[in-house]
């Protein structure tokens, strides 16, 4: 694992290592008929080797868009990145040429998508699609690529890989297809994996299998993992740290244990209170009132203020900065102390 020196104040689990990926003040907007939709409005996060960062948010919070910006697969136009830096191993990817970025994509940073059925090509066998990684990136022959594909399918524990390598995506179950997606992401032994809702389309028992596999492979290869999800349960199971997004901003950012025990932002707190628990039979659920904002008309001040039970005048005028809470934590709330306290 090569890590190029980088000046950074973000604490990594191993203080000697600079983060693998660092996103600084990233903005993404989309030009639409209804005006400019501001999907990402100044996001900062970092991931080190071997670390799992969960980016948590509801639909429209900008969690997937920011990941696509990191991966460099946004459709531009309509998308635009007016501002921001994305450092990967110390180099700003947004300043690279298309050619340079292509060398990183797939080889150094790989992505796992949510819906395996629509991400795989239905008219090509999975062996061909896995082998493509080796043929295109490493120039292997068809035969050698196929042998590698079988090895890869074995590694993600697809039974009878040798017989199934010529099967088509529709012949696999949902869980097996997601394993193939993971295999494809792992093919070139990347240093960072971005998993966008990797288990949302799967049943719980299969979800447990897939998440366990992903965690195991991450440990084995010491990869950084960005897990994008809306599921607070999955996050609690695997993440080291969490960034909670709302309306294109990170509203809270903390190590996993802190956030569940004592949330420092009213939105995080509301989310935690609004999910029913398996191990408790609760009373009436707490519901966050209202709806997430329209991204073309994000409210002034704190974007969460119309839905927030603690909102005061200052929340309607001033955008709260990410206040440091302790050493490795931040909350973008003017009243983070009060939120933590009660």
């Amino acid at each position: 694992m090569t890590v190029i020196d980088d000046v950074s104040n973000v604490p990594a689990p191993d203080a000697a290592l600079a983060p693998l990926l660092e996103v600084r003040d990233l903005h993404v907007e989309f030009h639409t008929r209804d005006g400019i939709a501001k999907a990402v409005n100044g996001v900062n996060y970092s991931v080190s080797a071997g670390e799992t960062l969960a980016v948590l948010g509801e639909s429209g919070s900008g969690k997937s868009v920011s990941a696509q910006a990191v991966m460099g697969i946004l459709d531009m136009p309509p998308a635009r990145i007016p501002k921001g830096e994305i450092f990967f191993q110390g180099r700003d990817m947004l300043k690279m040429s298309g050619e340079e970025r292509r060398k990183i994509r797939g080889r150094k940073i790989a992505m796992i998508f949510q819906d395996a059925l629509s991400s795989l090509n239905p008219v090509l066998s999975v062996g061909y699609q896995l082998g493509e990684m080796y043929r295109v990136h490493q120039g292997l022959s068809r035969k050698a690529a196929k042998a590698k594909s079988i090895e890869l399918m074995d590694r993600v524990r697809i039974p009878a890989a040798r017989e199934r390598v010529n099967d088509y995506p529709h012949q696999f179950s949902g869980g097996m297809r997601q394993r193939i997606m993971i295999a494809m992401a792992l093919a070139l032994e990347p240093e960072l994996i971005i998993a966008d809702e990797p288990t949302t389309a799967l049943d719980v028992t299969v979800q447990a299998q897939v998440m366990e596999l992903l965690a195991e492979l991450q440990r084995e290869y010491n990869m950084g993992l960005i897990l994008i999800t809306h599921d607070l349960g999955v996050v609690a199971d695997v993440a080291d740290k969490i960034a909670v997004m709302y309306a294109g901003r990170i509203v809270e950012d903390a190590p996993v244990h802190d956030i569940y025990a004592r949330p420092a932002h009213p939105y995080t707190k509301g989310l935690l209170q609004s999910i029913p628990r398996l191990d408790q039979k609760g009373q009436e659920l707490y519901a966050i009132k209202g709806l997430p904002p329209n991204l073309t008309r994000i409210p002034a001040g704190c974007a969460f203020n119309p839905r927030c039970p603690m909102a005061q005048d200052i929340c309607r005028t001033d955008v709260p900065p990410l206040h440091p809470v302790g050493t490795a934590r931040g909350s973008a709330c003017h009243f983070w102390k009060e939120t933590l306290g009660d």
Binding site: T205, G233, Y286, A287
Partner: protein
């Protein structure tokens, strides 16, 4: 609905007995020959009592949505009976069926496709009145629709808007208002909140609980999210490959599960508590659900079960209170279809 419902003293409102639905698999174009059948639902029995919520959980392909359709007679059952007030729904047709359907309504999963985009909200919610004009006289309909909008927490002035002008949560409220229009006794909810965001889910669940109290509704709540089912249900049935594996009160299923499938299912649910991840026992099942066209002999779960023995392949376990728990006074005495039923607390709640 948090208080436990005493289930023994009352008459069930819906009795389901040995419900079977096989979808034929055919071969050939002109002379279609049946070569097999997908056994989507294969002998399911349960009761629904007035005012209670029965949750039905299971993974995709276990037949839970087919059960919902059979209860509405939207699919013709291959065998079995569904008694609503003594009448077998599966045998009804025409006028009699229409009369029964007035009392059993449905809320669908996807609020984006279950509302006609070319109809206004008023037309969508008012459409049941066209089919059952006796419920609301013509002149009153607009007022009734506005009342319904108000009941589900939408502005009554939105009556002339179209579905695309609403968010997912609001659309699901429209679906619920349509389900309520005819004052039904039973509402069958097929994954009503799974398409919604977390913060909106809670709003819709709370609304459904409020409406249940207000109109004394009985719910059949079908979902794959075990946490939500626990929250809303009085009793829960767990389905696997077209059969009921275990059924009982929420405490029985969640705190004293005896069927290995239920135990595996519960242990796989991620709990939003990072402290729990070290000391929670995980049962990770191997493999996938077998095809319902060719289910395993005997117990259907045996191919993935860690307790499976020869007996499981030969003899199908019946859904009954296991003999060893028959005398128990705790909720462990509930119906479970396993030869080797054993209590195991996997959630860590008891």
């Amino acid at each position: 609905m948090t208080e436990p419902t005493p289930v023994t003293s009352r008459e069930p409102i819906l009795r389901v007995r040995g419900l079977v639905k096989h979808f034929p698999l055919t071969q050939g174009i002109l002379f279609k020959k049946q070569v097999g059948a997908v056994k989507a639902v294969d002998g399911v029995s349960f009761d629904l009592y007035p005012g209670e919520t029965l949750g039905i959980v299971g993974e995709s392909g276990c037949g839970k949505s087919t059960v919902a359709k059979l209860l509405m007679n939207l699919e013709q059952a291959t065998a079995g009976e569904v008694f609503y007030k003594g009448q077998d729904i599966t045998k009804l047709s025409g006028r009699a069926l229409k009369a029964v359907r007035r009392n059993i309504q449905m809320v669908f999963q996807d609020p984006y496709t279950s509302l006609n985009p070319r109809m206004t909200v008023g037309d969508i919610i008012g459409e049941p009145f066209d089919i059952h004009p006796e419920v609301a006289p013509k002149g009153d309909r607009r007022k009734r629709v506005q009342e319904l909008l108000d009941v589900v927490g939408l502005n009554p002035e939105y009556i002339n808007r179209y579905p695309h002008q609403f968010s997912g949560g609001q659309r699901q409220r429209i679906g619920i208002a349509r389900g309520l229009a005819l004052n039904p006794e039973i509402i069958i909810c097929d994954e009503p909140v799974s398409a919604l965001d977390v913060s909106v889910q809670a709003q819709v669940i709370n609304l459904m609980e409020k409406l249940q109290d207000e109109f004394s509704l009985s719910y059949i709540f079908i979902a794959h999210d075990l946490s939500i089912v626990r929250h809303i249900s009085d009793r829960v049935g767990v389905m696997y490959l077209g059969k009921m594996a275990e059924i009982g009160s929420d405490a029985a299923i969640y705190e004293h599960p005896t069927h290995p499938y239920t135990q595996a299912l519960l242990s796989a649910v991620p709990v939003p508590d990072p402290e729990a991840r070290e000391h929670r026992e995980r049962i990770i099942l191997s493999g996938d659900v077998p095809s319902p066209a060719n289910p395993p002999s005997g117990c259907r779960f045996r191919t993935r079960c860690w307790k499976a023995q020869d007996r499981c392949a030969q003899e199908e376990p019946l859904l009954a209170i296991p003999a060893r728990f028959a005398q128990a006074t705790t909720p462990v005495a509930h119906e479970s279809a396993c030869h080797f039923a054993e209590e195991k607390d996997v959630v860590g709640a008891a």
